[in-house]
């Protein structure tokens, strides 16, 4: 037992050093920085300001706007990804011909780098030369060319959602497919013998037994979506009129464009707090669900 503990300590040492050096220590530094007013990357003495950064943030209306965008983006994209992901997972599990080919197609958006996805949608949605305008206009679905990303903030935000859903639905689909494979086939046999149709067995067997997987996916996707940055950066740069600025994007601007490192650090900590509360909320919901399943 003692020797096992010693060996474990030895084997975990590299991991512990790495995690301490690049995660825990910086996380602690960030917390300290958030109580000072650090406005340059150089070492030196900076004034201690206590909680002022935090109170400034809570009184800054731009934060609440960015939080609104983030919330909208998170809710809409996560919901759409779950819905489409479930449909794709059911299709991937269905007796398709050329199933291997369909599987390869569904993997594609997941393997595509996020920045490439964003750049791709930016080309597609280009106001003058993009294929979206050309196609929709020539099909008579839209009167004239419109600026998808350039003038209407809400339209631009929705286009960022479209790009994100296009990319991340495939990951959700494969998670749910893995969950589908854990459901025993016999249950469906029994249901059929009992006279249940496919729709009934979907809602009585598939959905309830898939719930744990759905919950995990929901947590992971919500947290990822809440941190969204890359796709906003490359598609809209936060515009038009700051209409697609998210919390992470705003934090990035404050810290690295305005060199307000302390303000950024405080903002980042508030983000962690929000994510933590989301995760706890989900865990509670999940536990309640499980209890209901048992009783």
């Amino acid at each position: 037992m003692r020797s096992q503990a010693r060996l474990a300590a030895l084997l975990l040492l590299p991991a512990a050093i790495a995690v301490f050096g690049v995660v825990l220590y910086p996380a602690a530094r960030a917390l300290i920085i958030s109580f000072y007013d650090v406005d340059s990357p150089f070492a030196g003495r900076y004034p201690f300001v206590g909680l002022r950064n935090y109170t400034d943030i809570l009184g800054d209306s731009r934060i609440w706007t960015a939080a609104g965008h983030t919330l909208y983006f998170t809710v809409v994209s996560t919901a759409a990804e779950l819905l489409f992901g479930l449909a794709l997972a059911l299709l991937l599990a269905a007796p398709l011909r050329l199933r291997w080919l369909f599987r390869a197609v569904v993997i594609l958006p997941w393997a595509l780098p996020t920045i490439v996805t964003g750049a791709m949608w930016r080309l597609i949605l280009n106001a003058e030369y993009g294929v979206a305008n050309a196609l929709l206009t020539q099909l008579g679905l839209q009167d004239g060319y419109r600026s998808w990303l350039g003038t209407d903030p809400f339209l631009a935000l929705n286009m960022v959602v479209v790009a994100d859903v296009w990319k991340n639905t495939s990951l959700v689909a494969f998670f749910l497919l893995a969950g589908l494979h854990t459901i025993p086939r016999e249950l469906y046999e029994v249901a059929r013998v009992d006279g249940a149709g496919p729709i009934r067995s979907f809602f009585r067997i598939t959905v309830p037994l898939l719930m744990p997987t759905i919950a995990v996916v929901l947590v992971l996707r919500t947290i990822e979506a809440f941190k969204v940055f890359d796709i906003v950066y490359v598609m809209t740069g936060g515009g038009p009129a700051s209409g697609t600025q998210t919390i992470t994007f705003f934090t990035y601007l404050q810290a690295f464009s305005s060199q307000r490192f302390s303000y950024g650090a405080a903002l980042a900590y508030l983000t962690v707090l929000a994510i933590l509360m989301l995760a706890l909320l989900y865990l509670r919901l999940l536990r309640q669900n499980q209890l209901r399943g048992l009783s």
Binding site: L7, V22, A111, T114
Partner: protein
Amino acid sequence: MTPGRGYRIFIHVAALVASVVILAPFVWLLYTSLVGQNDLSTVPLRWWPSHWTLARYRDIFAGRQNSVAAEFRTAVVNSVIVATGTVLVSLVVGVLGGYALARLRFPFRRASLMSFLVTYMLPPITLIIPLYLLMSRFGLLDTKLGLIIVYCSLAIPFSLWTMSNFFGTLPTELEEAARVDGCSRLGALVRIILPLSRPGIIATALFAFLLCWDEFLYSLIFTSTANAKTIPVAIAEFTGRNAVDFGLIAAGGIVASLPPLLLTLALQRYLIGGLSSGAVKG
């Protein structure tokens, strides 16, 4: 009872529609990279281009220095070095630590497992400010080494978690038999466990590689020149300069997508196994 005819038609039509929605944007990217600039800037759009060209790919792979195309080439090389380096480091660290977490009994085992997992949940934006200040003091800004160190913060917790989950699924009997025959713990790890763990190691390496290849925020902040800039940053900067050279953006995007696409397609059976064992069960 076999599924009805209507059902079979329905699923095939649905799969076809889904495939078109998934493939169409990507096909457009490919198309943009392959047709002449004239065809890209004609309004209204001509659906069949007047000429095709591979010039942009030639520029990226063999063009002269100091062009945007050559910048893409350097950035791809940087991405390969940084991602490979991070995967190697995180695999060694993850295999050793994962084995300890899965097989050894020691105080605070669960607590340490959870603390590694929590570090994985911390958003990069929290760590990026102090990391930036630290790296600028150690002269690690704009270096590939600095980027590898930072990427380890993403890849190590991940590979620890998946490797320890994977080791947990292996039967203990073989290992015990080897120990009875006089093998040390580490000997059993190398001779018995590692050969059995090929699927887990490949899945972990693939995920870690994709994680690094896709990473954008750290690279954007910590790199500034061709010395360490990775391909996502090169593409985003070129796109953001509002260049009208759509063709080159697209060709750069295709080149950047090739390594992850080929790896994923070649290793997809490991990927799906990795998803179901590493993430869903964990």
